[in-house]
Structure formats: C-alpha cells, structure tokens
Symmetry: C2
Subunit: 195 residues, 2 copies
C-alpha cells in the first residue's frame, strides 16, 4: 500500500501546488516576446521589489524635463538578491520604471504646500518603461534592451518595439556601463539587506 499512498500524496501535493500557483496566474516571470520580437507588457510588477523613486520635475528643468514624472522602479526579488550577491543582474532580468505625474503646485518650481511641508507628490500614472537583460538578443547595447509602453495614462501599450539606441541605451552606456547599465547610485535600496 506504500506506493498507493505515495501516489495519492503526490496527487495531493500537485493539487496544492496548483492552488498556490493559481493566485499568481495573472503575473508574468521574466520577459515574453511576440513572434515579431516585441516585448509584451509585464504583469504583476507592482508586487515586485520597489527599489526607489526619483523625481526630475518640469519646474526644475525649464518646463520640459526629459522625465517630468516620478520614476518608481521595480525588480523581481530573486534578481534583486542576485544583484546583491554578484554585483550584476542575471540573464532575463526585467526592470520596470513606472512614471507618475507630479501633482501641480503653485510655486514657480511646481512644488506644492502640504501639511508635511513643501515638496513634490505623485499624481496619476503616466507611463511605463522597461529594460530587459538578454545578452544574446541585445548584445549591441551592452546586453540590455529598452522598451517604452507609452508615456501616457493607463492602459499602457500591450507590446513595445525595442527603442532605438539613441533613445535610451546610449545614455546608459555612456554613464552606467560599469554598473550593469543600471543607475545604481540612485537606488540605494539595492545595497540594503532585506528580510
């Protein structure tokens, strides 16, 4: 009877894993490309590890900042841990940068007054950029490909073509090639040990 209850247990275990997995069915792992080579919009990234949000508002950039929104950056936890261990991100790493408009303020620099002080506060979501590490696919741009799913409110585009080198990669290559193409200096959480 040993084999019988092992088999039954195995079934039970498979069923249990299926149930556990089902709660994450709308999430994607890593990068998924269409047959035409476009990147599909990642899902579930707001449950990934948040590593920082910087802000370069229009009010401090002559009214036309390259990125006038808050940049909230997310990476999957295992890739985060791998970076901490090895100082570089593993093949297949996906980094998501979600943009949030700045809530309009009355000061010339665009800041607003709140009970906690004068400053900048996130508003509506306004776009999604993604970078994917794939040394075979993106060897010409230092192993990373760059994608924009629209700089606008949701819904974001379902797929995105690789951005041209001059749009994204060239600036990363010029400035942060030594830190695996990521602006790690602006994401100190990357060096924080987490539970």
């Amino acid at each position: 009877m040993k084999s019988r209850w092992n088999w039954a247990c195995a079934l039970s275990t498979v069923a249990m894993l299926a149930v556990t997995g089902s709660s994450q069915s709308s999430e994607t792992r890593g990068a998924t490309f269409t047959k035409a080579g476009e990147l599909m919009l990642p899902k579930g990234y707001r449950k990934w590890m948040f590593i920082g949000a910087s802000i370069t508002p229009n009010g401090l950039n002559s009214g036309s900042a390259p990125f006038p929104e808050f940049h909230s950056v997310y990476v999957e936890l295992d890739n985060f841990r791998s970076y901490q261990k090895n100082g570089k991100f593993p093949e297949g790493t996906v980094m998501v940068k979600e943009l949030s408009l700045v809530q309009p303020g009355k000061h010339p620099d665009g800041s607003l007054d709140s009970a906690s002080g004068r400053g900048y506060f996130p508003g509506s979501l306004n776009g999604l950029d993604v970078m994917v590490k794939d040394s075979a696919r993106f060897s010409k741009t230092n192993n990373w490909g760059f994608f924009t799913f629209g700089h606008h409110a949701q819904p974001y585009n379902a797929t995105a073509k690789e951005s041209s080198t001059t749009e994204c990669a060239s600036c990363h290559i010029a400035n942060v090639a030594k830190t695996d193409m990521v602006w790690v200096r602006y994401y100190p959480l990357l060096s924080v040990q987490i539970d």
Copy 2:
C-alpha cells in the same frame, strides 16, 4: 489503509506548509505588541505593496522640513485590496513609511543635476514610521496608533512606544479623518487596479 495514507498525507501537507512558511519566517503579519504595549518593528515590509513616495526636502522648507526625506509607503496587499473594495482599511492594518535621505545637490533648493535632469534622488535610509489600525487600542486617536522607530540610519529601534497625539495623530485627525486617517490624495496607487 485509507486512514493510514490520509494520516500520512496530512503529515506531508503539514510538512509542506511548514516549508512554504519557513521562507517567510522573517516576515511579520499585522502588528505585534510587547507586554508593555510597545509595537515591535515590522519585518518584511519591503515586500509589501509600495503605494508612493513623496518628497518635501529641506531646500524647499527653509532648511528644516518636518520630513526632509523621501517617504516610501508600504501596505500589505490584502489590506490594499480591502481598501479598494471598502474605502477603508481593515482592523489590524499596518502602514509603514520608510524615510530616505535626499542625495545632496548643488542648487540652492538642494536638487542635483543628473543625466535625466535636475531633481531629487533618494539616498541612504533614515528612519521608519508606522501606523496601526486597532479601534480598541487606539480609540482616542480615531482608531489608529502612530509609532516611530527612529529617524536615523539602520538599524531601526526594535520596539516603539505610541507617539503622543500632538506628534502625529492630531495632524491626521485635522486633515484626513475622512479618508481613514491616510493621506490618500498623495497615494494615487491606492485607486489603481493591480494584477
């Protein structure tokens, strides 16, 4: 033999749950208080749902902002979803606000120049504040208790006494009592449907 393999399966399932749980053993759920009534430092909160990071830098607040750091706010996913469904947070909700220093810039307002523009970028971690919803324990402050685990670099304090009403609660009561004591206007992600 049926009872035997049921028993064996039960053991197997328990063992599996124990293993599944062990990967999260360093995380806490909800609020834990000491016998003396102090709140214990939450763990694992950086894997909770990030809902926004605002910034009120010293450079825009005459050199002495009440909160000169980035405020990164986290809440557990099920409490986030409950808020979306009911417009209020359930009993036992814990909200964590982690503070990050602003990287020093050369402009009078403290902003710095980067390749992506002039603005504010997070630096080292510098403190942790927590609010807990418990209508029995904190009935005098509109159902929420407020705690500070230190405004300094890690490690944060292991436990925290409830802050006095004037330190935190009074401002929340005066300004955001109608939105369950949370500054929801500054966390638009609370209204975004997530996967």
